[in-house]
């Protein structure tokens, strides 16, 4: 179905090719997971399948790609559109009209497909993706997962044989991502569609894809093969596989069910340290105090209903819960972006309801969901200089550089923020709000769109800040990050706090919010692979489990 022969592609103005002498054969009907660190060439590769590279981006092509018997370089993306359906990261940006049904028909109308045929195909895709109930809804009112399913349906109306998806879930919350991935799985099984999907959350897909295509980056050739085989060699892996590899489990378990067998065998050999006593606050006043907070939006939706929360100085707390449970609304109250209807707020002794946001942010940094919105200067150095000016601080390039170095992005100091990767942008945004040395840090979904390495970096940075005595409150869906880094977890639902307690206790009692490793052992002492490896007798084999870069090929 998809054949690459000595294929080479170089972007215009680039010194080195992104794809170099690529040889690859993907059979018809295969479900392929495309993975690898950010910037390794996954997106570029996916765009060569329908010819967007080189047609949309320019550049130089060598060798040959044959997709379903056609050459995308000769046919152009428009010519390939009835063979290859392409879905992008942000569903919003692919919509042309405003109502679901019209959006599905729009491409066909432009192709001059007869009305009867259009109606038949629209009905079909509405059923295939189970979005018939959304047909008359305006697209702007749909949830993220619904939008992405509409985007998939819109490319399916032209009846492609290959579906290519470039990180379709990176902008979505876990529930929405699950909806999209299930829909894809069904399309692959029911229609035999060949699917290529790039995705960071391997734990959600690794067990039902047929192949994995792994791009190691830095110009090295990709690995292609069965999931277990490729994951054995790939350094970016979810905790279950990291643990499996560290303990030499064979065959490598891809699901919790498979992993449980191995876990039972080693459970008795483990000698974990006792659970730490829950930290006493010694009567210190909380850094963040929320008491009986209520908020109703102008639409009439009650977003917060009597929330009470205390975060103590130096504590790292995670706020978890479904989309729309009130996490973001709560965080926005703490920096004065929203005003409470009722209730008491105090953060580091200030009242956010009465202090302007511009003043508050000197003491409390807030990283919103789309960190790139925080960036607007001409260079990385300018961003930090801007922060200093905004907070009436004297310019201090030395301190700025040190801050960037602490976040591991000082080598980018002269770059334009727009040219950075998702993870780098996020770290720069973090640097920009950390300039006035705030005592508290609020983060809203900081792991969106990050790969495992970037997540690990983020966890290290946050722990570093916590160890400096900063108070951190983080809204997140990321169970593994919360398990690895936080001290305390609160679960929110429908505008209320349902549970609040030490991470180890909360996360091992929960079904949904338990980490992978915890699901293996069902014991509050094991939340992360490190917990398990530390508990092993010293004699046992203990290869490194940190995410080191893979050895260069000989």
């Amino acid at each position: 179905m998809i054949t690459y022969n000595h294929y080479t592609y170089r972007y215009p103005n680039a010194a080195l090719p992104v794809l170099h002498d690529l040889n690859l054969e993907i059979p018809e009907g295969a479900f392929v997971l495309v993975m690898g660190p950010s910037g390794a060439g996954k997106s570029t590769f996916l765009r060569t399948i329908n010819g967007l590279a080189p047609h949309f981006y320019g550049g130089v092509v060598g060798g040959q790609a044959i997709i379903g018997g056609r050459n995308p370089v000769e046919e152009s993306p428009r010519g390939m559109s009835d063979l290859v359906g392409m879905v992008f990261q942000d569903p919003e940006s692919s919509f042309v009209v405003d109502v679901v049904e019209d959006e599905l028909a729009f491409a066909m109308e432009n192709w001059g497909v007869p009305q009867d045929m259009m109606r038949k195909r629209v009905e079909e895709v509405l059923d295939q993706l189970q979005i018939a109930h959304l047909r008359n809804r305006p697209i702007s009112q749909l949830s993220g997962g619904e939008k992405q399913r509409v985007a998939i349906a819109a490319v399916l109306t032209l009846h492609p044989e290959i579906l290519v998806l470039d990180e379709p879930t990176s902008q979505l919350d876990p529930q929405a991502a699950e909806e999209v991935l299930l829909a894809l799985r069904q399309l692959n099984e029911d229609l035999g569609l060949t699917i290529l999907l790039s995705e960071h959350r391997l734990e959600r897909v690794a067990h039902y894809v047929d192949y994995i295509l792994y791009w190691p980056g830095q110009g090295r050739p990709p690995l292609f093969g069965e999931p277990a085989e490729v994951l054995q060699q790939a350094p970016l892996t979810p905790p279950l596989i990291t643990l499996g590899k560290a303990l030499g489990w064979e065959p490598l378990p891809l699901t919790i069910k498979q992993g449980r067998k191995f876990a039972r065998q080693i459970k008795d050999q483990l000698h974990p340290p006792p659970l730490p006593e829950s930290a006493a606050h010694n009567g210190r006043p909380p850094a963040i105090l929320v008491e009986n907070l209520w908020h109703t939006y102008s639409t009439g939706r009650e977003a917060l209903r009597g929330v009470t929360l205390r975060v103590y100085p130096g504590e790292f707390m995670a706020l978890m819960g479904r989309n729309g449970s009130g996490k973001t609304t709560l965080l926005k109250h703490l920096v004065g972006l929203l005003r409470p209807n009722r209730g008491k707020l105090s953060i580091l002794g200030m009242n956010p309801a009465e202090t302007p946001t511009e003043i508050l942010t000197r003491a409390i940094a807030y990283l919103p969901q789309n960190p790139e919105r925080l960036l607007f200067a001409e260079s990385v150095a300018d961003e930090l200089a801007f922060s200093r000016r905004a907070h009436n601080l004297p310019p201090d390039p030395e301190a700025d550089r040190a801050l960037l170095a602490r976040l591991g992005i000082d080598h980018l100091i002269h770059q334009h923020p727009h040219d950075l990767s998702v993870g780098e942008k996020q770290r720069l945004a973090l640097a920009a709000i950390l300039v006035p040395d705030p005592q508290a840090l609020l983060l809203d979904e900081p792991t969106r769109g990050l790969d495992y390495v970037q997540k690990q970096h983020l966890a290290e940075i946050l722990q570093g800040l916590r160890n400096q005595g900063k108070t951190i409150l983080m809204a997140t869906h990321d169970v593994e990050l919360a398990a690895a880094a936080t001290d305390r977890v609160a679960l929110m639902s429908q505008g209320e706090i349902v549970v609040d307690g030490p991470s180890r206790r909360i996360m091992s009692e929960s079904l949904v919010f338990a980490s992978q490793v915890n699901k293996l052992f069902r014991d509050p002492r094991y939340l992360t692979p490190e917990d398990v490896l530390r508990a092993l007798p010293a004699a046992a084999p203990q290869p490194p489990v940190t995410l080191a870069p893979p050895p260069a090929p000989a």
Binding site: E101, P368, F386
Partner: protein
């Protein structure tokens, strides 16, 4: 799936054409007020229906009354004030401003105020008619009535419309983000980064959309044309323009030959129209939505036709009937003929023809 449009788009467009023509040829405030009242009742009926409806396509939601009323009051205030302050003619002088003041100085007359009021009435009626038209059809249905030759423009407008809600959201996010950076927007210079961000966002989105549209095979199928036909098209376009120009010249300078000028103009227009029609036929497009012509559409078309014909015949045969001019030597009181008044109630008819709001989504 049937069209969710309440009236057939062509019948509805005829309604708009009739209403607009009536507003444009009428200066008599009494008739205009009747039409405005009729339109307001219709709008209220549409609003009520939209509130009961679960079929909540965003474009089918009429603007809130508040918005419309605010816009109307602003327009009225502006036209009345402007006219009263700049036109100093009339017998009924209310007061005088010092003559030394440029432009606004001089007598302020009742006539000028009334004239401003009538002008405002014209504007407000037009806006309300358009708001009603839009709330029934929505921009995308209207775009589908655009003939083939304007196809590219139609797609561009369509995209621009879908950009609006997301840009509004992005604007809010960027403003919040700036405050989070400790940035206080005081003057225009401080606001600059806001616009830069918004521009960058819009650009990014445009590139992503272009990429996705390319991948989805947009652009339509344009049938190729031969060399000979290309020349034919160019030649007839030039010829058509020359005919139009010639017609204008003849009409302006040779008053003794009124028919010659008109003839040339008509020939030029015909040639241009033919050309555009041929161009449009090269683009093959189909329409997904079915448009049904129901009995209520016939009624609507008939009533709209009656209004259109009525006002056109009146301006031709009885120009004084719809005429009104408050300044001397004319009478400050408008004339009124009850029969004509009835004609101006016709735009209300759709309110009586509206089907009940559809039940909440029945499909599972």
């Amino acid at each position: 799936m049937s069209s969710h449009v309440v009236f057939h788009p062509y019948a509805w467009t005829l309604w708009l054409a009739a209403g607009m023509t009536a507003v444009l040829v009428t200066r008599n405030p009494l008739y205009l007020l009747i039409l405005l009242l009729a339109a307001s009742f219709l709008y209220a009926a549409l609003l009520r229906r939209a509130q009961n409806s679960q079929e909540d396509a965003a474009h089918n939601r009429p603007m809130a009354w508040k918005t419309i009323v605010r816009l109307a009051l602003f327009l009225w205030a502006f036209t009345i004030l402007f006219n009263a302050l700049t036109v100093h003619v009339g017998d009924h002088v209310l007061f005088r401003l010092p003559a030394s003041w440029p432009i606004v100085g001089g007598p302020i007359t009742l006539e000028a105020i009334i004239y401003g009021f009538v002008t405002g009435l014209n504007f407000v009626s037009l806006i309300l008619l358009f708001a009603i038209y839009n709330s029934v059809l929505g921009p995308h249905t209207i775009l589908r009535m655009i003939p083939g030759f304007a196809y590219q423009t139609g797609v561009a407008i369509s995209i621009a419309i879908s950009f609006v809600p997301q840009t509004v959201i992005a604007w809010g996010e960027i403003r919040e983000a700036q405050r989070l950076r400790g940035h206080k927007v005081r003057g225009l210079r401080d606001a600059l980064p806001l616009f830069v961000s918004l521009l960058g966002y819009g650009l990014d989105r445009a590139i992503q959309l272009a990429e996705s549209m390319d991948a989805r095979g947009f652009g339509g199928r344009i049938l190729p044309v031969g060399r000979r036909e290309t020349w034919l098209i160019r030649l007839s376009a030039v010829l058509g323009l020359l005919l139009l120009l010639g017609g204008l010249v003849v009409k302006a300078y040779y008053r003794s030959l009124p028919w010659a000028g008109l003839g040339l103009l008509a020939a030029g227009a015909l040639l241009m129209g033919l050309n555009l029609w041929r161009g449009g036929r090269r683009i093959h497009r189909t329409r997904y939505r079915r448009w049904f012509w129901r009995p209520r559409d016939t009624l609507l078309a008939l009533s709209s036709g009656l209004l259109l014909l009525g006002v056109l015949l009146l301006t031709w045969l009885q120009p004084r009937a719809l005429f009104y001019y408050p300044y001397p030597p004319y009478d400050i009181l408008p004339t009124f003929n009850p029969l004509l008044g009835l004609l101006f109630i016709l735009p209300l008819l759709p309110a009586l023809l509206l089907p009940p709001a559809p039940a909440p989504d029945a499909s599972p």
